[in-house]
Amino acid sequence: MLQQLTNLSDKELISRARKLKDQEAEGVLMERYSHLMVAVCLPYLNNGPATTPEEVYPALLQRLSASLRTQTIPKANEWIHYTIRAQQAQTEKNSPFFPSTESREQQQMENKVEKAATNLKEQQLLAATMEGVLEKLPAEEKYFLKEFYLHAKSFAELAATKNYTIEKTRQILQQAKQKMASLLMNETYE
């Protein structure tokens, strides 16, 4: 059973855990992201009361498990990141997770690309629109996107060309991508 569940996507596991109350699916989802949870929580361990790994990780898992049943989760990684940050902030008020507008637009674009994967004409149309939108972006963002995606340059290479840190390079790429997604979504609405 576990073997079969590990082959399922995040979306399918979440839906099983929510609709069928399948705790095994929930466990598989947690296990899939456990190494990232461990890594992200490492700087906050043993920093104060109730911050031992034996307390932090089970509490985090319980918090995730509770929120899984009530919240809409379009992207598991964003949801886990949000929950970890909320736990680290030690906010008593358990504010629910809502994906940002940028994230939603980006996801819609991802879905469009996925949908067009089987249709060459649609792919061509979508690529033409994306190219048009790419030209509308600021020069730096356009350059970074083109270099990263079309010429397959790494973060380090891009950072070296502009003398930026890898973090900044990633940030510029992220912003450019989000802008592009919102422009594309606006074009489709028009």
């Binding site: 059973m1 576990l2 705790q23 095994e24 466990g27 598989v28 947690m30 296990e31 899939r32 992201y33 456990s34 190494h35 990232l36 949870m37 461990v38 890594a39 992200v40 490492l42 700087p43 361990l45 790994p53 990780y57 089970p58 898992l61 990684n77 964003e78 886990i80 990141h81 970890i84 980006q106 674009m109 991802e110 469009k112 690309v113 996925e114 067009a116 792919q123 061509q124 979508l126 690529a127 994306m130 190219e131 790419l134 996107l145 990263f148 995606y149 079309l150 397959a152 790494s154 973060f155 973090e167 990633r170 790429l173 992220q174 991508k177 592009m180 997604a181």
Partner: protein, 354 residues
Amino acid sequence: MSNLENNEKILKIFSNIRCLNRDQLPRYLDGRLTDVEKHLVEQHLVDCNLCFDALQVLQQQQYREKYQPLATSMQQYIRNSIKRISQVHKVERYQRQEQKKESFLIYFWVVAAIAISAGVIYLVQQQGKLKSPVSKAIASNAELPAAKPENPPLQAAVVTPVRVEEAPALKTTPPTTTSPEAPVATPKLVERKDSLKTAVKPPAAPAVTKDSAKKLPPPPSKPVEAKETTRVAVVHKDTPAVVKRTEDKPAPVKKEKEKEDVPEKKATAEPSGTDEFLYKAAQVYHQQGDLNEAISRYKHLAESPGKYGELSRYQLAVCYRSKGQTGKARRMFKEVVRMNGSMKDKAQAALDNL
């Protein structure tokens, strides 16, 4: 071609890539990924804050050392909790399956029992339909020897005729001595002779004419004699005359009887096959208490000549009597008495009792 490649590359901007797995994470940090793999990871890192934060943390050596044991213990912790849950699930599933099996078995046996009982009922009904009255009679015929001791009077009725037939032949002579019964007996005998003559038509016809010729002359001669003698004497003479007649008659009667016995035997011998069978079948119905069926069968047999005709009339009378139809019973007994056969005495006794 270059246009297509360009299109694919542009579309890559919004391609969905999974988070780094526990194998990719240290390899990326160590720079042990291929260029393609590394580019895919970096494409994902553009969007994923979780993976990027994890990489940022793990790039620090102090956390890198702690990471591996904690990651394995975390994984183990989750797996253990899943195992417990999965075991509980397995037990629940097994119990559900067992319950399903049990319920299925119960349904199966209930259906099987219903089917078997329905089959048995159907077979019994079919057997009942197939058993026609004739086959019943055959079956009962085979059972007759066993049934005989149960019903002794009927057995007597079947067996007695042979003895009774022999008895009247012996009894015919004594009536001459018994004066009161003699006059009664003689006319009956005459009647019976007549009936027997009618039964035995061609050979008895000349005998009847002879008898009638013999019988007719005496009456005119008797009044002549009576005129000559006193009335008392006439009375006294009449009786001896009657006696004489009776004395005279036994011889021809015997002769006739001897003559009649032969055809009678022939008659009884001829129908004995079917009549006996039909009589026994009717008796079976009589024994079973199905009086109406017995009566109809006896009626059918009563018209046939021979001892079975008489016997069936007698049984008919018995049936009527047991049904409470005394009028019909009396008539039948009278008929039997009139037939003057082997069942005459019994019929007379039954008539007296009625």
